[in-house]
């Protein structure tokens, strides 16, 4: 297996810096307490922004799983193909 192809999220600092920033934006600590207006789609502004960043986090994590995590996949899939050839 080629060393180059290994991707492990823990080794990439930017992943965790971005995740941290994302979390900080989700929690509404930076809005003036008690503020309600304006409404966006029935949500108060702070709740709308918080929800938006929550969805961003879901998308980001989903993308990370698929594209930044690859340790033994090639090895396993190759073994699986071999197995299939044997039994097929």
């Amino acid at each position: 297996m080629k060393t180059k192809s290994i991707k492990e999220p823990i080794r990439k600092k930017w992943i965790w810096v971005l995740l941290f920033i994302n979390v900080v934006l989700i929690v509404p600590w930076y809005f003036p307490e008690g503020a309600v207006e304006p409404f966006i789609f029935g949500f108060p502004l702070w709740a709308f922004i918080s929800t938006f960043f929550t969805l961003v986090m879901g998308a980001y994590l989903s993308w990370l799983c698929i594209s930044q995590w690859n340790i033994v996949e090639e090895e396993e899939e190759a073994a699986k193909r071999e197995e299939e050839v044997k039994h097929g």
Partner: protein, 502 residues
């Protein structure tokens, strides 16, 4: 949730159908697999061969219980928009998985781990660490299981309008669960999760549709109503609530990802590809699960104004009643929805029970009582031990505790203390057994004491998170100070397991 006008006999029919389907799935998943009951990994990890569909649904149905609906909607009702946190704290779990699951998956396959304890034992080779972590994990699992048992009874009693008394409902469903789990182990648990997860998903969508129908299909009207009548539930939360939100993200993220049954799903994956695909889908589930339940809770503020804490716990039942009255379609959908809630509780309880049994088999019996016993015997010990534990917990469940959410936070406080040793140990070679033990112990004591003395949170920060902080500090500082002796470090060939480039 008593006096549901829509239920009664129809509810009993739907529940019976669900129970029969579960039993059939259990029977067929165990049939023809003679190896299942003779191998720990066969019984507890489905032979480490769960494909994408089964793995995704077992992650989903285990993580989201019936409580996610029955308990979270009332919390949304009581706290208002700040309960948006339930979407974010369920999402962050995937982020925490990314910290350790990729490497743990590889290591677990190389070393054939069955329980989380296997990893801790391999890494630290310390009886003290092993025993303490077993205790903390079993404690967390037991409490979690208890909560599910209490919830099953409440849901069934609500659905059948009290036709089936609370105790009988719990016993019948527990027997169904024990039966299919006995027959098929993890395979049965995962395959029933597919059915249970689908019913839960559909149920939530229909329930929300009904709730929105009741308020005229206009969510903006609901927020306007809240702005006029209960502005506190709408405005930017106080700083302490925001701090509490951060604390929940830490507590739930670390706690839920380190749950033994959660860890065992990493072990059970057929391949890295199926595991990461399942996690990638799971990251999208909170908005359409806890997110929709949040909206239900908010709509409830307008539909049923002025409920007190105890009254609001009945919110889902009250609302289902109203929705069922809309027309025949909603009537049957509500019955199926309540069946779905019961199914969702069962799907969480079965996973927790299986994990509990696996720790009795592999950890308590297999490591400390009879290491040389055959795997068949170990599996048997776990199965029977699990049944004894269930009936002990049932005995406690007859006096259900207060609101569901209260116990939800409690179970994390101690369990989460396993996290520092578990995850730091994967990456930091210097992390030593003694500091891990003391960190875990002191963290658990601090968290437990704060909770017992009524300081569940301090300025919004959970006792569990404070304990965890102490735990991390003890682990790190202790490991830096402890001189590295030859005994304490892993041998070269053992280290190779952790090296991904090897």
């Amino acid at each position: 949730m008593d006096n549901l006008t829509f239920a009664g006999m129809d509810g009993i029919i739907i529940l019976s159908v669900f129970a029969i389907v579960m039993l059939l799935i259990g029977y067929f998943s165990g049939k023809g697999d003679s190896n299942l009951h003779h191998s720990l990994s066969g019984y507890y990890l489905a032979g480490r061969n769960l494909g994408f569909i089964a793995l995704f649904f077992t992650l989903y149905a285990t993580q989201y219980s019936g409580n996610t609906i029955v308990g979270y909607a009332p919390t949304g009702y009581r706290t208002g928009f700040s309960w948006l946190q339930s979407i974010s704290f369920m999402t962050i779990i995937i982020g925490i998985y990314l910290l350790f699951a990729p490497r743990l998956y590889v290591v677990s396959k190389r070393r054939n781990f069955v329980t989380p304890t296997d990893w801790l034992e391999f890494r630290f080779k310390s009886k003290a660490v092993t025993l303490l972590s077993i205790f903390l994990m079993l404690w967390g699992l037991g409490n979690y299981l208890l909560e599910q048992l209490v919830a099953i009874g409440q849901a069934v009693a609500g659905m059948t309008g009290g036709t089936i008394p609370y105790e009988i409902a719990v016993v019948v469903f527990v027997l169904v669960m024990l039966a299919y789990e006995w027959m098929g182990g993890m395979k049965a648990v995962a395959f029933t999760d597919v059915m249970q997860g689908i019913v839960l998903m559909i149920g939530i969508f229909v329930f929300l549709a009904g709730a929105l129908y009741l308020v005229g299909g206009n969510f903006t009207e609901v927020t306007k109503y809240i702005a006029t009548n209960e502005p506190d539930k709408l405005g930017v939360p106080a700083m302490e609530v925001s701090v509490n939100w951060f604390s929940m993200l830490v507590l739930v993220g670390l706690g839920a990802s380190i749950y033994p049954h959660a860890v065992q799903r990493i072990y059970s994956a057929q391949s890295e590809k199926t595991l990461k695909k399942s996690f990638a889908r799971m990251a999208w589930m909170p908005p359409i699960t806890t997110g929709l339940v949040f909206v239900v809770g908010i709509v409830g503020i307008m539909l049923f104004p002025g409920l007190d804490a105890a009254g609001s716990e009945q919110l889902v039942g009250l609302m289902a009643n109203k929705i069922a009255a809309i027309n025949g379609f909603y009537y049957w959908m509500m019955i199926i929805f309540f069946g779905g809630i019961v199914a969702a509780i069962i799907s969480t309880a079965d996973s927790v029970l299986l994990s509990f049994s696996s720790m009795l088999s592999n950890d308590v019996y297999g490591k400390f009582i009879s290491p040389n016993a055959s795997e068949h015997r170990k599996v048997m010990v776990g199965k029977i031990g699990g049944i004894i534990a269930i009936f002990f917990l049932l005995w406690i469940a007859w006096n259900p505790p207060g609101t569901l959410y209260e116990i939800f936070v409690l179970k994390f406080e101690l369990l989460v203390q396993v996290f520092p040793g578990f995850v730091l140990g994967l990456y930091w070679k210097r992390l030593a057994a003694k500091p891990v033990f003391w960190g875990m112990l002191l963290g658990a004591i601090l968290a437990g004491l704060l909770t017992l003395t009524g300081y569940k949170t301090i300025y919004g920060i959970h006792g569990g998170v404070l304990g965890l902080t102490l735990n991390f500090i003890v682990c790190v500082v202790g490991s830096i100070l402890v001189p590295v002796s030859s005994e304490q470090t892993l041998k070269k060939d053992e280290l190779a397991v952790l090296e991904l480039k090897a």
